[in-house]
């Protein structure tokens, strides 16, 4: 029996898509506090303002992240959501877990929380929605002792590192994303569990330029798999696609007309670096930007090269200041190997942190600091020599600025001597 009239919320059940309102009503049969979520949301729709208070001091002992405090500003009207804290659980790398583990997590959440979950949050965490402050410590004890799970990141912490499925199941992956994601999660436990930075900081690891975790759009530090040498071509398989023996794009291409390699692949290459000559596919690899389009279209015929590694990009963020920002390429190619315990990647990360912790303003993401102080400053800090790939557009400013150390002899001069020489 509904506790509140929710005509506006009920509208959200009428579309053809699955409705969270229906889910909440079903959950309310065993967890009556879910009626109060619907009631409070209905009120928010009417008032056009949120009825959640902003933040709080909840957490578990020793941790400064992983729990997001949420309190209703109308607790008398909606007592079931007077406290409605969110708990973020660190997901396993590449999100490999058994159904038994998921059942255990759900049972734990039925015991201590509302039973509502969000799988997964945009950082990748398993998100458990809605519990009271007094339940947090017992929940954390059971979570860590019985389920061997830990909390994820929130606040000004390193957020839970996230990765694509990587070489565990994907033939395109240029490095083992799950391995580095797990390694850095363990290496940076202090930064994940306690605040360390001017604002949030996110790592994301994608095994190839398809970037299935959208690291280029969402992370301060994106490691995107790439290769240095030539795309590997199986000419027989290319002919197979042309003859229709294989389904292009793994069967996902629209079937309105037959596959045409000229129209469907060559003409759509962004740098026009492909051609058919004597019935053989040729790729001018120097001009390939690793967009993955041709590999996606003909996966049986084309594969990444054999010299594999990753590109490092920095500074993506969602819009708060100045709108959304994609990450900027900083280092075009690094080797990614567990043999050195990812030492070379850790070195880059810590150079970034050392600079950003000093130069970043409060609540300023790395990308905003980079934008404010300029890419040349960031490259200098990172000790990276500028390359053409760092340039977004050709210069419009005709002046060339030289620093003191770039000019032989520097800028020091005897101005009187100079004027003597150049006086009219």
């Amino acid at each position: 029996m509904p506790k509140h009239d929710t005509p506006l919320m009920d509208e959200l059940e009428k579309g053809p898509w699955p409705s969270f309102v229906t889910d909440l009503k079903r959950q309310a049969e065993t967890k009556p506090e879910c009626w109060d979520i619907l009631g409070q949301m209905e009120l928010s729709f009417k008032d056009r303002i949120t009825h959640w208070k902003h933040g709080g001091i909840v957490g578990v002992f020793g941790y400064g992240g992983g729990i997001v405090g949420r309190y209703s500003d109308s607790p008398k009207q909606f007592p079931g959501v007077a406290h409605f804290h969110t708990v973020r659980l660190n997901q396993p790398s590449s999100k490999f877990y058994s159904s038994a583990k998921l059942r255990d997590i759900c049972n734990l959440w039925e015991k201590y929380g509302s039973g509502m979950t969000n799988m997964h949050g945009s950082t990748g965490d398993l998100v458990l929605l809605g519990t009271r402050t007094e339940n947090l410590e017992p929940l954390f004890y059971d979570l860590t002792h019985d389920l061997k799970q830990d909390l994820g990141g929130s606040g000004s912490n390193l957020r839970t590192p996230a990765c694509c499925i990587g070489s565990a199941r994907c033939e395109w992956s240029c490095y083992d994303t799950a391995s580095i994601c797990h390694h850095l999660t363990m290496h940076y436990q202090d930064e994940i569990h306690r605040p360390a930075f001017p604002y949030k900081f996110k790592f994301k690891f994608s095994g190839c330029p398809n970037d299935c975790v959208a690291s280029i759009a969402r992370s301060d530090f994106a490691l995107i798999g790439t290769w240095k040498d030539d795309i590997r071509i199986d000419q027989d398989a290319v002919q197979g696609y042309i003859k229709g023996d294989y389904k292009p794009n793994g069967g996902a291409r629209a079937k309105s007309k037959p596959f045409d390699i000229d129209e469907d692949v060559l003409a759509l290459c962004p740098t026009a670096c492909m051609r058919m000559k004597d019935n053989k596919l040729q790729i001018d690899n120097k001009n390939c930007t690793r967009c993955m389009f041709c590999l996606n279209m003909m996966p049986r015929a084309l594969r990444p090269g054999v010299i594999k590694g990753a590109s490092i990009l920095c500074g993506a963020k969602a819009p708060i200041l100045d709108g959304a920002q994609l990450a900027t390429l900083i280092i075009p190619f690094v080797e990614v190997t567990a043999d050195n315990e990812y030492e070379n990647i850790i070195e880059v990360i810590e150079s970034i942190w050392d600079w950003w912790m000093e130069a970043g303003k409060n609540r300023e993401r790395l990308g905003e600091t980079m934008q404010r102080l300029g890419l040349p400053t960031f490259l200098k800090v990172m000790d990276v020599t500028p390359i053409p790939q760092h340039i977004k557009i050709p210069r419009e400013n005709p002046y060339v600025f030289w620093t003191d150390e770039e000019v032989p002899g520097g800028f020091e001069r005897d101005i009187r001597e100079f004027r003597k020489k150049h006086a009219q």
């Binding site: 709080g56 001091i57 020793g62 400064g64 309190y71 606040g155 306690r194 604002y199």
Partner: protein, 80 residues
């Protein structure tokens, strides 16, 4: 010369006590000792939280520090 850990702890508590704002960002503590690295200051501030002398306040996206007596506690704050 950088302050010792104990001196830094005292400086951080003094800052948290006297600052006009009751809740401070970690960067606000950097001024407690210009010679200490931000990472050292962060570690000392987090130690003070473990000792119960400071508390974390978090909006979910960012985290601030405050003395227990000055923190904005949503559970005890009157309804808006």
């Amino acid at each position: 010369m950088a302050l010792s850990v104990d001196e830094l702890k005292a400086a951080i508590i003094e800052k948290a006590t006297k600052a006009p704002k009751p809740q401070l960002y970690i960067k606000d503590f950097y001024a407690c000792d210009a010679d200490s690295k931000p990472r050292v200051i962060k570690n000392v501030a987090n130690d003070l939280v473990k000792e119960g002398k400071l508390m974390f306040w978090s909006s979910g996206s960012t985290t601030m520090y405050a003395l227990p007596s000055r923190i904005k506690n949503e559970e005890t704050r009157p309804q808006d």
